[in-house]
Amino acid sequence: MPESYRAIYIGESIEDGRYQEIFSSHAKAVNLIWKRQVISVCNRTICPGPFRLILDLDDVSHIRSFNQEQGLLQVNCEPCVTKGMEVYQVLDFSRELPDAERELKVADLNLPPRCYPPQSVGYLLALGPQLEKSFDGTLGNQYKKGLALIGCGDIKAGLHCFKGKGYGLTPGGDDFLAGFMLGLSWKERAQKKSLSEIKDLLLCESLSENYLSNTFLLQAYHLKPDRDWADFLLALETQTNPQAAMLKITSHGATSGYDTLSGFFAAWEIL
């Protein structure tokens, strides 16, 4: 346990209050339950986000509570140093894109299947049929069926082929749906398409007992991404090396970054 805690970033959406009910915990992040979502207390390797408190620590797994009251922070009931701490404010993505920037070549960025790591949605989508009788094969075929259903306009049935399914603490399918939501939010903005009905349906059908998945989904719904995603969206908007920004996202979690990217590209390509 460190002598004193020091905060590096705090997300703009974290409200005053005491957070002490643990949803999940490991070296990089402790997720504390808040309104069927989570507030994450993270180590310094995690990028800032609207619902994240980033501490100057390597391992946060011992953290059991976090308290914020009028700018004063406590971690495990001990004062947390906030000198030099930045408030992470999400870039304002609500402003309209200039006409010239609406035709973004997002599809060109999608990764070939060989680039997706095993157990990710992209990998299982590509290899599903070859692994038919195994867990991975069945999962991959589910994902594939889901994509086909969404492509045919049966969004509700399609998203249920992803929800809660797959590997990881936020199952790959949930990450895919969060990315899909982000893709819709971004497409809505970039192409001035009204996709609010689909977004509302996606939100309504996808919220679950997995509060971590809920958090990512709601952030995507409101287009309030973490910094790495915000950097990627900004790079897309300005066409300044989005590949480099994308690389940062692929380092999220085990396959989470890849899975959200798969969802983002799917939303862009299918709808």
Partner: protein, 502 residues
């Protein structure tokens, strides 16, 4: 065929670990399929579809983790579950049974008995303990970490000196030991010039300049920027100097620092007077120095490199850059564009540029890392003044990588500066080498293309053609984008100052 399962409760695991467990279990003998997943209703449906949903896990909670094994025989399934239990107890991370695992420095030394140097790169508050342990094990130490107190630094350096060991750092970003680059360092040839430096990018600039001139490095030691301060007393500047004086592979010695304390300087001059080897010293500003026959003093980093090469070859070392700044026609900033913005990733280069500015104009520019504390400013972005920003300073590196690696902040500032109507010149350094960004030009070009064309961009590329990024390729790309590119920082900064002077 048999299916066995286990519910894991009261244990928090991360996704990486879960996936590694699934993967390793599938590699066990007789295992047909295996997963370690969250027991969501939907995942249980998939398990059911693959005949892996056994009774025990049908009623698991949505947030439970389940391990399910499908095997050819019962004993194989049981063995795999035992393996899973063992894997659950291991810390997350890659496991390679063929390589020894060391949990601390002491244990690492047991596995690697010939090791004599330990590089420490952990959060500053933990670095002291690790350095202490390394010294106790008889290792030389390089501390890459910053945020170590002066008191701890002094204590560690005194211990190291007493044991005849080197302690480079804290905040030592660069060293080249026995040809091995450590931290941020460039691919330079081996040779007869030894360097000791209390300035990281200073060491890079000089070693690269020496390489450009066709010479090489015997050893390059970093000491950390505070070694020359009175509180530390130049303990490691002195120890490294002593090493180089007695090193048979070193014929010329270079010392670089941001102007050490007078007492430290005096002690170093005295030590230099005991050696027959030529010494070239650069403290980045003119200071009084003794008239020793073998001592040469240079104010600039590239001057220091040229002098060292001349001492070694006993001949003129040539010029450092293919295009001399004086050969180039000076571009004119348009209209009311009268200010210079320096956006630096290398602290020593930012320091050298400010020195040069002072020489030209007798005044100091504003900076977050100023030569004169009266000119310190943290709000530099819209100041109607000449400004030099060291983006490697602590205030810019909290929560993000060093600007030599992560260009995002610099691009943001570059973009912002590029829209200002009063900026005439932007001065940049692009530091290449091991540890730095793999392709800075790819990051910079799109932003440079959007900068107002009336702004003159002057760029120093610090690197060699043998660096992973290839300095020549990087320079060509930047030049093609319209920047004035130089391979010597002094020449680049001088070019910018002359434009400003006009």
């Amino acid at each position: 065929m048999i299916v066995q399962s286990q519910i894991v409760q009261g244990k928090y695991l991360d996704s990486v670990k879960l996936m590694l467990i699934s993967k390793e279990l599938r590699q066990q003998e007789g295992i047909l399929d295996a997963v370690a997943i969250l027991a969501t209703k939907e995942n249980r449906e998939i398990l059911a579809a693959t005949d892996m949903l056994v009774d025990e896990i049908k009623h698991a909670a949505e947030t439970d983790i389940v391990i399910v094994i499908k095997a050819e025989a019962e004993e194989q399934a049981s063995a795999a579950l035992k393996k899973a239990e063992a894997l659950l107890k291991e810390p997350a991370g890659k496991r390679d049974s063929s390589r020894p695992v060391a949990r601390n420095i002491r244990s690492a030394v047991q596995h690697l008995k010939d090791a004599n140097l330990c590089l420490i790169s952990v959060a500053g508050k933990y670095a002291v303990k690790e350095a202490q342990e390394a010294l106790e094990e008889g290792l030389h130490v390089m501390i890459f970490s910053d945020n170590v107190s002066l008191e701890d630094e002094l204590n560690l350096k005194q211990q190291a000196a007493a044991k005849g060991l080197l302690l480079m750092g804290p905040d030592c970003g660069t060293a080249i030991i026995n040809g091995c680059p450590l931290g941020f360092a460039n691919n330079v040839p081996s040779g007869k010039i030894g360097i000791v430096s209390a300035a990281g990018t200073g060491l890079q600039e000089v070693s690269v300049a020496i390489a450009h001139l066709g010479f090489g490095i015997s050893q390059a030691f970093g000491t950390g920027g505070r070694d020359g301060k009175a509180a530390i007393g130049g303990i490691m500047l002195s120890a490294c100097l002593d090493f180089l004086i007695h090193d048979p592979n070193t014929e010329v010695i270079v010392m670089i620092a941001k102007t050490p304390d007078p007492k430290v300087r005096k002690q170093l001059w005295q030590q230099m007077s005991t050696s027959d080897k030529p010494m070239v010293v650069c403290f980045l500003q003119m200071v009084e120095h003794p008239a020793l026959p073998k001592l040469h003093y240079s104010v600039s980093l590239d001057g220091c490199a040229v002098q060292a090469c001349e001492e070694l070859s006993k001949a003129k070392a040539g010029t450092l850059h293919t295009t001399s700044a004086t050969d180039l026609p000076l571009p004119q900033p348009a209209g009311k564009r009268r200010y210079l913005m320096g956006l630096y990733s290398g602290g020593t280069l930012c320091y050298e540029a400010q020195q040069l500015y002072h020489q030209y104009f007798g005044d100091y520019p504003l900076s977050n890392a100023p030569l004169n504390s009266d000119f310190k400013s943290t709000e530099l972005w819209n100041k109607q003044a000449d400004c030099f920003v060291d983006l490697g300073s602590d205030e810019f590196t909290v929560g993000r990588a060093h600007p030599m690696i992560d260009y995002s902040l610099r691009m943001k500032f570059l973009e912002q500066t590029g829209t200002r109507a009063d900026i005439g010149i932007i001065l940049l350094d692009v530091v290449l080498g091991y540890g730095s960004h793999p392709d800075p030009a790819a990051e910079l070009l799109p932003v440079l293309s959007r900068i107002n064309k009336e702004i003159i961009v002057v760029c120093h590329v610090l690197g060699t053609a043998e660096d992973p990024q290839n300095a020549e390729t990087q320079a060509t790309k930047l030049r093609d984008a319209g920047a004035y590119v130089f391979t010597s920082h002094r020449v680049a900064a001088d070019f910018a100052m002359r434009i400003l002077q006009n």
